[in-house]
């Protein structure tokens, strides 16, 4: 990750009228990286992509591709091909013509174009559809044509705007893998916009989590999921049990927390002072019935069998917690039963309480 940034954005802000869409967004992406912009609707992720593509201009900030400032370049001069959410295949052109379009612009000879188009089609396994019109293809095929059209011009950067959201859920996983494979084989720097955290985690080298127009946290999928630095990221990446407390002592590597549910010992080290208000968070699957440390006691409010897991809703004091146990073990929990569970120390996240 020490490589020199290939594509970078500094201080990007954008408003539409009085609505602030982006506030001082910074990021930089090494060459060949797949960078996912993850966020809910209205988080500004698509606006960032459109600013990178040149369809929208930022109010402040700059974009650099290698060492060149491209903030003011028109879209067609940027060499950033985009795959659109609705594919945007031209209905009046065949699959072949759609893909050849960008190559014609580069003034290749027609023999070269033919060769290149067929190669790209082979890459996405659609050689036989060359003479078809896009609207006669299935959603998954259209998606691959859109990808081929963008790849054929060998762009410096590939931009993808929620490319899987218009596909049937059953198709998504396959195409997701294909995208990742192609991206790695070609080593093409890719920005991938999505609202689906699973998609981002399974695809990306780096994920940037966006919320209301600002980047909350950037990191590898593993670090964002397992050791998020912000509670927003922790909440976004999965169900989170939260307990407020205060720091009672710090003995490296342990931090002792005092809360209404008892005392907890946490290994996530942060420089904190005694008496500071904190929130500890943990995933439902970090609760173990056999655990011996960080014990909580609660009453079972509801039991939900979900196949791969068994979910227990617990009421602990005035808090509600969720426990998720492996579904392959026969259990005899009953509603209203009072039980004890331990939280795995190394799985407890620690956040400073910010209001």
């Amino acid at each position: 990750m020490d490589r020199k940034p290939f594509l970078s954005a500094q201080g990007i802000s954008k408003s539409f009228g009085n609505t602030k869409v982006l506030t001082k967004v910074d990021f930089s992406i090494p060459q060949g990286n797949l960078f996912a912009l993850l966020g809910g609707s209205g988080s500004g992720k698509t606006t960032i992509l459109r600013i990178l593509a040149g369809f929208t201009s930022p109010n402040t900030g700059t974009i650099h591709l290698e060492d060149r400032d491209i903030t003011l370049l028109p879209p067609h001069a940027r060499s950033m091909a985009m795959v659109f959410q609705n594919f945007a295949l031209w209905p009046h052109m065949t699959v072949f013509e759609n893909i050849a379009y960008g190559l014609h612009l580069k003034k290749h000879s027609s023999a070269d174009i033919k060769k290149k188009v067929m190669e790209t089609l082979a890459l996405v396994r659609l050689t036989e559809t060359a003479s078809h019109y896009p609207q006669t293809l299935s959603g998954g095929q259209q998606q691959r044509v859109a990808l081929a059209r963008a790849l054929a011009v060998e762009p410096r950067v590939l931009l993808m705007d929620e490319p899987l959201s218009n596909l049937d859920p059953g198709l998504r996983e396959g195409i997701r893998r294909e995208i990742r494979e192609l991206q790695q084989t070609l080593g093409i720097t890719t920005i991938y916009v999505t609202h689906d955290r699973k998609e981002a985690i399974s695809l990306a080298d780096t994920v940037a989590l966006l919320d209301t127009g600002a980047i909350v946290e950037t990191g590898t999928p593993f670090s964002l999921y397992q050791t998020p630095k912000t509670i927003t990221a922790a909440r976004f990446f999965g169900e989170l049990n939260e307990i407020s407390g205060t720091v009672s002592a710090q003995n490296k590597p342990y931090t002792e927390i005092n809360s209404s549910l008892g005392n907890f010992s946490v290994t996530t080290y942060k420089d904190l002072s005694k008496g500071e208000k904190v929130i500890i968070g943990f995933r439902p699957d970090s609760l173990e019935p056999t655990g011996t440390k960080n014990i909580i006691t609660g009453t079972i409010k509801a039991i939900e069998y979900q196949g791969e897991s068994l979910r227990l809703s617990l009421s602990c004091g005035d808090l509600s917690l969720i426990a998720s146990l492996p579904g392959n073990v026969l259990s005899s929990y009953k509603q209203g039963e009072r039980i004890q569970m331990g939280i795995k120390t190394e799985n407890i996240l620690l956040f400073q309480e910010t209001l």
Binding site: A53, P75, A88, R149, A150
Partner: protein, 547 residues
């Protein structure tokens, strides 16, 4: 229901297919020899040549005006864009033959412009702007018809999936190439349907050449042949030429566009920012639009001035302004009668068209009636076949029957008005039906409502505003309809406004001024109708469907 559908099919067949079939059958009776002598007749040849030239030139020029305007209004932002967008439709309020009366005042040898120019030191003789009249016809048609292409282009541009445009530029295409390779092909269907209307309108426009007294055009020759309809085959031959051409064009258009119906191919998801024009370009664009509008509305101004001028001889502007000629309408028997007639005819037409459109729309989209295809085809015919052909067909078919237009033209006149607007009204209602989820009606049936109750309480209320818009537009257009009005009615007491205007404009004394006053009333009615319709729907699209 089924009985009603059958009755409707018989009605449509009887009044649309029947007369056309009869006309073609009659024409087939004209011997090849006679037909040959008509076509080789030098005057007829000239008329065919000029009519086609005129229609082609009008369509081309109207397109050249409409394209940049529609592009600007759709994709660029500049001060006053929304207002200009609406104002650009203003020329539509006066049909070309009314505008022609005003144009004569403005551009004639001793009209306003020449008299103003002659005050300048270096112009001593008046300039002959109008020439033989053909130029005048051409200019008026272009100025009247460009809004139709403009409207069609605007709705094509706005229905476009904008990401298709962005995809092109992200692959490296500059604006011009994107326009040529992506935007243009994708908007061609919309453009063609507008251009077709303009071409056929120009080709068969009867009113404007009549006002300019220009004889060598197909519609005029058809009109004149009516007086000796049983001895002179020229009318039939020309009607056949016009019908074959327009049907052929229509079919060709449908065929090419069949593969090119892109609407709904991809969902319109991408929002786009209109690019703001730099100040200089914005000023230039605004100036251009303003000049075009001023020129387009000169004839309208001419009509207005002439209606208000109590005295106007050899001066650039009227010497005395008054409402004198509006009062004359009340006194002048034939003018007053024509206005009352037309109000009555148009009301009847609007009601008839409303009922027909609603019934046909319902049958087409909500029943499985076997002859739906036939109804659909018949309904579209009045769009494919010019009004003048229909009027001619009615005349030949019903002369000598109980519906003889020479003695009782009202029924046929109202029918021909209504049928002419039918394709547009049905299209609008049909589109409305299709946007209405069937489940809304099913929910009503599910709760125990009968079909009729469901229609009355659920379906109809949701179609109401669209239907009302169609009815209002039908009313306005019928007020100023030309070909049927001129061809079908021969008794003065039954004259509609259009025919009264034509007769008055040809008289020397106060005729043109009274005609202008009638024209202004017609313009006001049309303007009000367009305003109400745009209020009703809040969208331009419904107007563009209804034109």
């Amino acid at each position: 229901m089924i009985l009603f559908a059958i009755a409707l099919t018989i009605f449509l067949t009887g009044f649309i297919l029947g007369p056309l079939a009869f006309l073609f059958w009659k024409s087939a009776g004209v011997s090849i020899h006679l037909a040959g002598s008509v076509i080789t007749n030098i005057l007829v040849k000239q008329a065919i040549f000029r009519s086609f030239g005129l229609a082609a030139a009008t369509t081309l020029s109207a397109s050249l005006i409409a394209f940049p305007l529609a592009y600007l209004a759709s994709f660029r932002e500049f001060p006053g864009r929304k207002a200009w967008d609406r104002l650009l439709l203003l020329p539509l309020v006066a049909p070309p033959f009314v505008a022609a009366i005003g144009m004569r005042h403005i551009l004639a040898r001793f009209g306003t412009i020449n008299l103003l120019l002659m005050k300048l030191p270096f112009i001593t003789h008046p300039i002959d702007f109008l020439g033989s009249g053909l130029t005048g016809i051409f200019i008026l048609q272009v100025l009247h018809l460009y809004p139709i292409i403009y409207l069609n282009l605007r709705s094509s541009f706005e229905n476009l999936d904008f990401s298709c445009i962005e995809a092109s530029s992200s692959l490296g295409a500059g604006p011009w190439r994107t326009f040529r390779k992506i935007l243009l092909p994708l908007t061609l269907p919309g453009y063609f349907s507008g251009a077709y209307l303009v071409f056929i309108w120009s080709l068969t426009d009867l009113g404007t050449p009549l006002v300019f007294d220009y004889p060598t055009l197909i519609p005029i020759m058809i009109f004149q042949s009516i007086t000796d309809i049983y001895t002179n085959p020229a009318g039939y031959i020309l009607i056949i030429i016009v019908s074959i051409l327009s049907l052929g064009l229509f079919a060709a258009m449908k065929r090419t566009l069949a593969h090119r119906s892109f609407i709904g191919v991809s969902r319109f998801t991408s929002s786009f920012e209109r690019k703001t024009l730099p100040r200089g370009s914005a000023a230039l664009a605004t100036a251009g639009i303003a000049i075009l509008l001023i020129i387009s509305l000169l004839p309208h101004a001419g009509v207005l001035l002439s209606s208000l001028s109590e005295r106007w001889f050899f001066t650039p502007f009227p010497e005395k302004i008054s409402l004198h000629y509006y009062r004359s309408i009340a006194i002048h028997a034939s003018a007053r009668k024509s206005l009352i007639n037309s109000l009555g005819y148009s009301t009847a037409t609007a009601i008839l068209a409303g009922i027909l459109a609603l019934s046909i729309g319902y049958i087409l989209s909500r029943t499985r009636f076997k002859l739906r295809g036939l109804i659909d085809t018949i309904t579209i015919l009045p769009m494919a076949i010019p009004g003048i052909v229909f009027a001619f067909a009615f005349l030949t078919t019903f002369t000598g029957t109980i519906l003889d237009p020479r003695t009782s033209p009202i029924l046929l006149l109202v029918l021909s008005y209504a049928l002419k607007r039918l394709p547009f009204a049905v299209r609008a209602v049909h589109a409305n039906f299709q946007q209405l989820p069937l489940s809304l009606e099913e929910a009503s049936a599910n709760l125990g409502a009968t079909r009729f109750l469901t229609f009355r309480r659920i379906t109809f209320p949701m179609l109401r505003s669209g239907l009302l818009a169609g009815i209002i537009l039908t009313f306005a257009f019928s007020m100023m309809e030309v070909s049927s009005s001129l061809i079908l009615v021969s008794q003065e007491s039954r004259f509609p406004v259009a025919k009264a205007i034509y007769m008055l404009a040809g008289r020397i004394t106060d005729g043109p001024a009274i005609a202008s006053a009638l024209g202004v009333i017609g313009m006001i009615i049309t303007l009000l109708a367009l305003y109400v319709v745009s209020r009703l729907s809040g969208k331009r699209s419904s107007i563009s469907i209804s034109l």
